[in-house]
Symmetry: C3
């Protein structure tokens, strides 16, 4: 799984990525972004994978992740087929998930999937392996599972932001919001273990604090962390604050009403307390936890983070199809 | 706005197009159509913009305009991403329109939009300018606003039809139907001011007559016009009759029932009264105001008008991306 | 219609295909599959039709057929535009089907359609001919009509499976299931007349047996057939068994409840009775009539049959656009 020299196939879990793989992927992403800036480079990218076809199977809607993946495919010339509308696929109701998936694998070269069901991406990958269809599965989020490409784009954004300052190693990263139910903070936290001397600060009301299982895992892997419900006491210690929204869709009895946005949001006052070189991240879409007026601050990194998501997905597809060698040498712009 | 030598960027309003720009665009459209007729030319068009990506954001459904724009993109090799189904974008309900739009602009090179909200296209263009994202906005119709690409394809159809007869200059154009609420007659009327000695005749029942604001604008700009509710008295004076349908979707209390199709429709009897060289136009879809039997008359120009819509959109995209120079020299067929 | 030397245009009915055309198409399909196995060949396919645009008009949902056709287009570089969601096309409700179809034909080079209405594909082809739009119509299933591309992929699967054993000629083919209402068995049966000494066995409960009209047609064309409701008595006589599902969607009063799956399904016990070289086919999706455990048996041919569907559609598009000559010489892998 974590042998960085072997090619990537299924992409299911952020923990597949060891430090070498992460550094490698970040380097490739930067190289591709540089290439794409020139017309010649953008056209060269187009010629990499025009003979490949992707299925975007998004029965759990996420327009942002969808658009990011689809355009990543288009950047490489990959043709895309989509199933986004649950009603389009209603006829499949009479069919087992396995049969539907096997059908998809009859027509395309890679399946990118986002579903409600927990573990469906891994289950799909297992099926492909068992029936020996050479079709990689890319997990674009399934249920509450780890969301690997989000974690990768977050890592890339951190690395780029701390370029010239030693990268992620030694940094202090705060996570704020509904840490209990969101999957982005969780996935990224796992990957922080790959870096040296990183400190994590989980900032949330008691009832929304990061799950014990992850905290234990961090402790067991020697990652420094602390938990707090006092945002303002921590702001000046952070190199990055990763803000997340309330996961209201998982409410069973109005839990979200208990979340006090006045104490857990980023606006002008919080920006004032945040160090000069720190950055503000957010996986978007945002709610009241992130004031739009923060957008104009140079430390606001979330829009760049969003674009990074497309580029790291391009790099991932290049890795999956093993065409890195075919990239032209990009002269740095 | 109306400097025809500067490149096009946002396309929001027909009034952006002065006479030189219109002539230029019509010439380019004809050149592209000629090119596309040969296999070699069609393939050359494909290679113009394969490295560009378009978003078709059509939350106000219009399959016709959608198909026309998507295929215009495809003709140039542009990859397209769509949001057509309002329910697909339902997750964006919790997000501001500005954030959604900014997200789109993270992934694509041009946003073509058709929405219910009045002024949303201009608002989007302003946002792009403010945040300095170099992503042009193309208005494919928003609310009751001007619908620039419809007006441009109408101009092109008129110019082509009057080729060898001095073009649009000096012609008499009739508009018939629900002129009060339709936007096509309105948009085209504005552009008629760009031509010399054009006469406009607005033919409609009193309650559906063209709005006073437009009539005043025409008067203020020296454009000859008259209003009438007597179709048959005017038919033999027209070089073109632009027929439009009832805008029932804007009814608030059954106004459309008042419209008398017997007095305001084109069929065999009206064709007989229409001069030999005159043409019949319609933006489609049609209702009872235009008899399908007119289709077989050589003066029926609406199906060609529909196809012209795709071609002028191709030309517009060529202008927006500034690749006119890359077009091969087409030998006229 | 059945002159195999003339190019294909509209594809409406399996009966358009005489023996020479079938052999020709099967040969082309195999050639294309071989080509696509190498990167060079796959890229060569991409360059065949990038300047062509297809409309996939699927108002009767069928994700499988849709995916198969869309990816067949993509394999050849054809750009696709889709109307899948009936609500997307709701605006067309006010427009005649003829006007909508004519609109589609304004923008694309081929229309692939699947609709509820009986005979709509032929009606559409007639319209194109009448208005002289050179846009071929491909019937991807309309109502209870013949479904030509399904029949073609079935023929191809049979031919490939009996390669080295004389092909389809002289074979005994069983059809099992809801033969009365399904269209696949019906369409394939017509094509079996093109082969020498084929025997057809229709295996179904009395109430679901193949229609009298088809049986009379077979008799009139000298095709051997028999009908039975005893699956186990026939299994050892078959070279292929074509299993089909219950067509519950056509129930008017719970007829499907009468179907006894215990007597009409394929599982381990039936496999044991089926000869060594026989094959099991199914158009998919499957219901209880086909045990998933059959999948692991080498005689299970339905997943390959499904993939064949994409390849024969590629071959069909190559024929329609007359670019067979442009295919590179494939060296057999």
């Amino acid at each position: 799984m974590s042998d960085s020299s072997s090619p990537l196939f299924h992409v299911l879990d952020p923990r597949q990525f060891d430090r070498r793989r992460l550094d490698d992927l970040c380097g490739l992403t930067t190289r591709i972004r540089q290439l794409a800036k020139s017309r010649l480079g953008a056209r060269a990218l187009q010629t990499l994978l025009p003979h490949k076809r992707a299925m975007l199977y998004f029965t759990q809607p996420s327009t942002r992740t969808y658009l990011s993946f689809e355009n990543a495919c288009h950047l490489l010339g990959i043709r895309t087929t989509e199933i986004r509308d649950p009603s389009t696929s209603s006829e499949f109701k009479g069919e087992s998930f396995e049969d539907s998936l096997r059908t998809f694998s009859s027509y395309v070269d890679v399946i990118i999937m986002r579903t409600w069901g927990e573990g469906l991406a891994r289950h799909s990958a297992d099926l492909m392996d068992r029936i020996r269809r050479p079709v990689p599965i890319v997990n674009a989020g399934s249920g509450q599972d780890a969301h690997p490409t989000q974690a990768l784009l977050d890592v890339y954004t951190l690395e780029r932001s701390f370029e010239g300052r030693g990268g992620i190693d030694g940094k202090t990263i705060g996570f704020m919001g509904d840490l209990k139910r969101g999957r982005t903070a969780r996935s990224l936290s796992y990957l922080m273990e790959r870096y040296r001397d990183v400190r994590l600060v989980f900032i949330a009301p008691e009832a929304f604090q990061m799950g014990r299982d992850l905290l234990d895992w961090l402790a067991g892997h020697g990652v420094h962390y602390s938990c707090t419900d006092r945002l303002h006491d921590t702001l000046d210690t952070l190199d990055a604050i990763y803000v997340t929204r309330l996961q209201k869709e998982y409410d069973t009895g109005g839990e979200s009403d208990e979340f006090d946005h006045r104490r857990f949001s980023i606006g002008a006052r919080e920006l004032a307390a945040l160090p000069e070189g720190s950055i503000v991240m957010h996986p978007l879409p945002r709610g009241p936890e992130l004031d739009p007026r923060v957008d104009d601050d140079p430390r606001a990194m979330y829009w760049r983070q969003e674009r990074n998501g497309m580029w790291i997905r391009v790099a991932l597809l290049v890795k999956i199809f093993g065409v890195e060698e075919d990239l032209p040498d990009g002269q740095r712009a």
